[in-house]
Amino acid sequence: MDFQVVVMAGGYSKNLAPLVSEEMPKPLLPVANRPVLSYVLELLEASNLKDLIVVVEGEDVALRVGGWISGAYVDRLHVEVAAVPEEVGTAGALRAVAHHLTAKDILVVSGDLVSDVPPGAVAATHRRLDAAVTALLCITPVSGPSESVSSVGKDKGRKLPRANIVGLDHTRQYLLHVAAGAEVGKDIKIQKSILQANGQMEIRADLMDAHMYAFQRTILQEVLDQKEMFHSIKHDVFPYLVRTQLRSEISDKGAPKNGLNGADYSLNGSDPASEILTNRTHKCCAYIANKSKYCSRLNSIQAFCDINRDVVGEAGHLSGYSFSAQNNIVHPSAELGSKTTVGPQCMLNEGSKLGDKCSVKRSVIGRHCRIGSNVKIFNSVVMNHVTIEDGCFIQGSVICNNAQLQERVVLKDCQVGAGYVLTVGSEYKSEPLSKK
C-alpha cells in the first residue's frame, strides 16, 4: 500500500526514572510481562505491516532492542533497528532515517503505544482525504486506578493540564488547531484565518494524541529539511503543519503532488461546504479512534501502572493471554501457598512462588519471584526475579527486576529500582527508590 513504518522506540526515558535502567530501556519495559514495544510490533504485524524501521536512542539500547527483536520476531517481521544519538528528538530521529524512506507515505508510530486501534484505519483516512498529515486521536484514558485506594487525586491534578487542545472542523475529519498540554496557558490562541476559512471549529480537550502519524513523505522531508530547529514531531513538526495549512511555505512543492486531483478541473463535490471556502495548501486530518478501542501511551510511571492494570484487566485482549475462570492469569508453573488468594485481573508468571496467606489483587507479578508468607500486593507491578519476604505490604508500587524487599516492608506508591534492597521493616510512601 506504499506505506513505510517508523517506530520511535525511544531510549532511557527520564520520565520513567527509576524504572528504566541499563538493562531495561524503555522499549523493553514489561507490560504484562512483555516488552512494551511488542505491543506496537504486534499491532503492526496484525495489520500486515512487516517491514519496519525501529529507531532507538543510543547504541547500546539499539543492541539490546535489536537482540530482543531478532529473537522474538525472527521469522515474522523484517525489522531494521536504527540507532540515533540521544537527545535528537523524534524529528531528529526521522532525519536520521530519512534516507531509508522511499514510500509515498510514512507511518510514524511511537514505540510506547499500547493500543488496538488498527493502523490501517489511520492510513486509510490519510489516503482517503489526501492529507499531508493524519494523526490518531483517542479519548484520553482516565488515569489512576478506577477504584483507587490511594491518593489518586494528586495524580489527576498533575494529569489534567496535559490535556491537549484540539480544534476540529464540523466533519471531525480535519484538524484545525493543536496545542499540546504543556503549551496551553490560561487562554487558547486560535488563528483567525483558519477559523474564518472553516466557519466553525470544535474545540476538544478530551482527545489525546496517540503519537501515530501518517505523513506524506515529501512534505515531511521538506519540513524536516527546512526547519532544522525542529526537535520533536509532536511539538514542532505536527503543530507547524497544522498551523500553516492555509499558507504553507511548502505549498509550491506540495501542490504538484496532489496535482492529479487538483490540476484537472476539480469535480470533487466532496464535502464541498468547507472545500469551497478553504483553499488548503495541505490537509491536516485526524482519525478519532472509537471509544471502544483501547489506546494508551506508556510515557509516565502512572501510565505504566495503568497500562499494566488495563492490559491484564479491561483490555485483556491485548495481552494475548487467555484468562482463567477467575479472570486472572496464573502460569501453571507458579506455586501458591495455602490460603493464598489471587484475585481477578492479576497475572502470575512462570516460576513464581507465593507463600501462605498471601493476597494479590489487580497486580502483575513477573517470572521467578519469590514471595514469602502473609504478603499483600495490591495494584502493583512486580517484575522478574524479585524477592519479597514475609509480611510485606505493597500498594500502588512498581518493583523492578532483582529488587529485594526484606521482612515487613511497607510500600505505598513507590517505585523500586532494579536491584535495590529494602531493609527490614522500612516504610516508604510515594518515593522513587533506586541505587544512586
Binding site: 506504499d2 493502523p119 486509510a124 482517503r128 489526501d130 469551497i276
Partner: protein, 706 residues
C-alpha cells in the same frame, strides 16, 4: 457487470450491416419458405430490417401491421435510413441485437406466431442491451408478460404501437391451430438451410432453434401441439452434431442454452420479471396460470437439452457467452456466494423495502471502519484504487463524472505501476487485474453507467493490445488511452455541451436547476461570464442537499438565485422558462436516469409546458433500456433520511430498524421517461431523446469498439 460487456454478436460488423442496410441476400431465400401469416405481421415490426430484405410475403402482413408505423414500408427505409433512425426509435432496427443477426427474418418466421414477443420486447426495449442475442429465449417468458401486461404501462408511451401489442394475445390465441404448422415449417427451414454455409445462415439456424424452443413453450399454453415441434428442434440439433464446424457447435449450444433458460425462467419467473421491469407488480391470474403450464413444460425441456448434450459442458459455455445477469440481491444463494468472494465484508441492512430487495443494501455504519482497518491486508489492490474505493464508500467523491474520472486516474496509476508477472501475458493478466479492481470498487459502491462504459472502454483497449508490443509500450498506450478518454469524453465534452447549452439561455430567462450537476454549473457560469442576464432557481431535496453547494458557488459568482426545495416545485415552476438538468445516464429509449427527484421536476415542467434540457456527456449513454426506476437503482443509507440535520433532538425515527413493519427507502436515482424531456444536450449536439439510440449506435462504435 453485464452492462459492460457487449454481446459478442453485436460487435460483429458484418452482422451490424445486415441490420440496417439489409444487404443480407441469403436470408431472402429463407423468407420465401416462411409462410405468411397474419400473426407474423406484428412480428414483422420487430424484424423490420429483415422485412426490407425479404421481398416476399409481407404484403398482407403489412396490411395488418400498417397501423404500427410507417417503417413498414420498405422503400422508405432503404432510401433514407437516417430519417428512419430518427423517427422510429421503438423499432427493432435500433436494437443492436436485432440488427446483429442476419437472422431476424427467420426468427420472425418462426417466432412470429408466438405473440410476436420479440417484437414487443423490442419495443419495450427489454432486450436493448441485455444481450438479447444470447438471452432471448430465456427472456421470452418475461416478454410474454411484458407483452400483455407491460403493454398497459406502455400504451401511453407508444401510442401507435401499443395497439398492436394489445391485440396480439388475442390473435395468437385464436390462431392456436395454425401455430403448429408454422413451427413445423420453421423447423423445416432450419434443416433445409443447414446445407448453406455462410455464417449468417448458421446464425439463423441457431436463432431458429432457439425460437422454436420458445415457440414450444408458448404452444403448450395454447394447448397446441408442442411436442412435435420440440422433437423437430431436437432432431435438427442431433443431426447437426455430426458436423463439427464451429458455427454448428455454437448452434447446438444456443439451443441448449435456450432450453435451459426456458426452464430457468419457469422456475423463477416472478423475479426475472421484476428484473426486466415489465409490469411485475400486476401479474394477473391469467399469467399465473400460464406460468404453471410453463413449469410443466420446463423440466421436459431441460431433459431434452441434456439428451442433446454434446461433450461440452453447457454451463461453462453459458457462463462465457451470456453475460451474468445483474445480481439479484433477493436471491439468497447467490448473495451467499458473492459474499464469500467479496473483499469487503458487507453487513446487510435490516428492514429492506420489499420492492427493492433485489438491490444491494448494506449497513452503512460498519463498512468504512471495516475497510479502513483492512487497509494493509488488501495487498492485491493498488493503493490508488483502494483510495478511490474508500472515497466512494465514504461519499467523498460523488457524481458520475467525478467518480468515473477518479476511477480512471486510479487505473492509470495502477497501469503505471503494473509489471507483468513472469510467465504471464500482459493482456490477460492486466485484464484480470482490472477486473479485480472493478469488483472491489463495486463492493464499495455500485458502478454508475458512466463508469461501466469507461471500464468497458479500458478493457477493450487492453484486449486489443497487440501481442508484440513491449510492456512499456503497451502501458504507455493504455495510459494515453485513459488520458484521451478523460479528456475527450469528459472534459472536452463538457466544454462543448456548455457551448451548445449556452445558446439556449437568453436574457431575462429564469432557469430551474435541480441538485448539483457539474456540467449544469459550468453552463450557468459560462452564460454568466458571457454577460447574459438570467435568474436561477435552485431546487434541492433532502437528504443530500447538494443544491446548497451549487447555490453557494453560483451566488459567489454573482448570479441571482432562488433556492427552494422540491416540495415547492409546482409553485415555482410558474415563473420558470427552462429547466436544465444533469443526468447520471441516458438509456436508449430516451429514459433519463438521474438523481432521484429529476423525474418529478421533469413531469411538473412538462405539465407547465416548460422545456426540459438534459445535459449529459455521450459516454453516459447506454444501449440498455429501462422503463422504471425499480429494476436497477441504488439504495443509500436509510438512516440519513431519518435524521434531521441541525436538529439532533428531532429524532422520531431513531431506532427505526427495530420496528419490523417500518422500512425506510433512500433511493438514489429515478428514471424520467423520454416524454418529459424536450432535448438532450450532448457533445454531439442537441438532440431529441428519440435520437439517443442513434448516438449510441453511431458514436458508440467509436467509443468502445475500436
Amino acid at each position: 457487470m453485464d452492462l459492460r460487456r457487449l454481446p459478442r454478436t453485436v460487435i460483429d460488423p458484418k452482422v451490424r450491416q445486415v441490420g440496417f442496410f439489409t444487404s443480407g441476400d441469403p436470408p431472402s431465400a429463407r423468407f420465401n419458405s416462411n409462410p405468411a401469416d397474419t400473426t407474423a405481421a406484428t412480428a414483422a415490426t420487430s424484424a423490420t430490417a429483415a422485412a426490407i430484405s425479404s421481398s416476399s410475403p409481407n404484403s398482407d402482413i403489412n396490411l395488418a401491421g400498417n397501423s404500427l408505423s410507417p417503417v413498414m414500408i420498405p422503400p422508405l427505409r432503404r432510401m433514407s435510413p437516417r430519417r428512419c433512425d430518427d423517427m422510429q426509435m421503438p423499432i427493432g432496427s435500433y436494437n443492436p441485437s436485432e440488427s446483429v443477426l442476419g437472422t431476424s427474418p427467420s426468427r420472425r418466421g418462426i417466432n412470429g406466431p408466438d405473440f410476436s414477443e420479440v417484437a414487443t420486447s423490442a419495443w419495450l426495449g427489454i432486450s436493448g442491451s441485455m444481450k438479447a442475442a444470447a438471452s432471448f429465449p430465456g427472456s421470452s417468458g418475461e416478454m410474454m408478460m411484458a407483452g400483455k401486461n407491460g403493454g398497459n404501462a406502455l400504451v401511453k408511451n407508444m401510442d401507435s404501437t401499443a395497439l398492436a401489442v394489445k391485440t396480439l394475445p388475442g390473435v395468437t390465441e385464436k390462431d392456436g391451430g395454425t401455430l403448429t404448422d408454422m413451427k413445423n415449417d420453421g423447423a423445416g427451414t432450419v434443416r433445409h438451410q443447414k446445407q448453406t454455409t455462410t455464417r449468417a445462415e448458421r446464425r439463423a439456424i441457431q436463432e431458429a432453434q432457439r425460437a422454436s424452443k420458445a415457440a414450444a413453450m408458448m404452444d403448450e399454453k395454447d394447448g397446441g401441439t408442442l411436442t412435435d415441434i420440440k422433437n423437430e428442434g431436437a432432431g435438427t440439433v442431433r443431426h447437426q452434431k455430426q458436423t463439427t464446424t464451429k458455427a454448428e457447435r455454437r448452434a447446438i449450444q444456443e439451443a441448449q442454452r435456450a432450453s435451459k433458460a426456458v426452464a430457468m425462467m419457469d422456475g423463477k419467473g416472478g423475479k426475472s420479471i421484476a428484473s426486466t421491469g415489465g409490469g411485475a407488480p400486476s401479474i394477473s391470474n391469467q399469467e399465473k396460470v400460464l406460468k404453471q403450464s410453463q413449469k410443466k413444460d420446463g423440466p421436459q425441456d431441460t431433459g431434452a437439452a441434456s439428451e442433446k448434450k454434446v461433450s461440452r459442458n453447457p454451463d461453462k459455455d453459458r457462463k462465457k457467452d451470456i453475460p451474468q445477469p445483474r445480481m439479484q440481491f433477493d436471491d439468497k444463494n447467490r448473495v451467499e456466494k458473492a459474499k464469500r468472494r467479496a473483499v469487503v465484508n458487507q453487513f446487510e441492512a435490516r428492514n429492506r423495502v420489499e420492492l427493492f430487495r433485489h438491490l444491494p443494501q448494506y449497513e452503512h455504519g460498519p463498512q468504512l471502519p471495516y475497510l479502513e482497518s483492512k487497509f494493509f491486508h488488501l495487498d492485491h489492490i493498488h493503493p490508488s484504487v483502494y483510495k478511490v474505493g474508500l472515497q466512494y464508500l465514504s461519499g467523498t467523491i460523488t457524481g458520475g463524472n467525478a467518480r468515473c474520472q477518479e476511477m480512471l486516474l486510479a487505473f492509470r496509476e495502477a497501469i503505471i505501476d503494473y509489471s507483468t508477472p513472469p510467465e504471464k501475458v500482459l493482456v490477460r493478466d492486466l485484464t484480470s487485474k482490472i477486473g479485480s479492481y472493478v469488483s472491489f470498487l463495486i463492493e464499495c459502491r455500485p458502478l454508475s453507467v458512466s463508469m461501466g462504459n469507461a471500464i468497458r472502454f479500458l478493457k477493450n483497449r487492453v484486449a486489443k493490445l497487440h501481442r508484440n508490443l513491449s510492456e512499456s509500450e503497451a502501458k504507455s498506450r493504455l495510459i494515453s488511452d485513459v488520458d484521451r478518454f478523460i479528456n475527450e469524453k469528459i472534459i472536452v465534452a463538457d466544454q462543448i455541451i456548455v457551448q451548445h447549452a449556452v445558446t439556449k439561455i437568453r436574457d431575462g430567462d429564469v432557469l430551474l436547476i435541480y441538485g448539483y450537476s457539474t456540467v449544469v454549473e459550468m453552463i450557468l457560469l459560462h452564460a454568466h461570464e458571457q454577460g447574459k442576464q438570467f435568474r436561477v432557481v435552485v431546487v434541492d431535496s433532502r437528504p443530500k442537499l447538494e443544491g446548497k453547494i451549487l447555490l453557494r458557488k453560483l451566488v459567489m459568482k454573482g448570479l441571482s438565485c432562488t433556492y427552494t426545495h422540491i416540495n415547492a416545485i409546482s409553485y415555482v415552476m410558474h415563473e420558470v422558462k427552462c429547466v436544465v438538468l444533469g443526468a447520471s445516464a441516458i438509456l436508449s429509449n430516451g429514459t433519463v436516469f438521474s438523481r432521484v427527484g429529476t423525474a418529478c421536476i421533469a413531469m411538473v415542467a412538462h405539465a407547465f409546458r416548460v422545456p426540459v434540457l438534459i445535459c449529459c456527456e455521450a459516454y453516459k449513454f447506454h444501449e440498455r433500456v429501462q422503463l422504471d426506476s425499480i429494476c436497477s437503482n441504488e439504495l443509500g443509507n436509510p438512516d440519513v433520511i431519518s435524521n434531521v440535520p441541525g436538529k439532533e433532538d428531532v429524532n422520531h425515527l431513531a431506532n427505526w430498524a427495530d420496528h419490523k413493519n417500518l422500512q425506510l427507502l433512500n433511493l438514489f436515482y429515478d428514471a424520467t421517461p423520454s416524454d418529459y424531456v424536450s432535448m438532450i444536450v450532448t457533445e454531439h449536439g442537441m438532440v431529441p431523446p428519440t435520437s439517443v439510440p442513434v448516438i449510441v449506435r453511431e458514436y458508440g462504435k467509436d467509443q468502445f469498439i475500436f
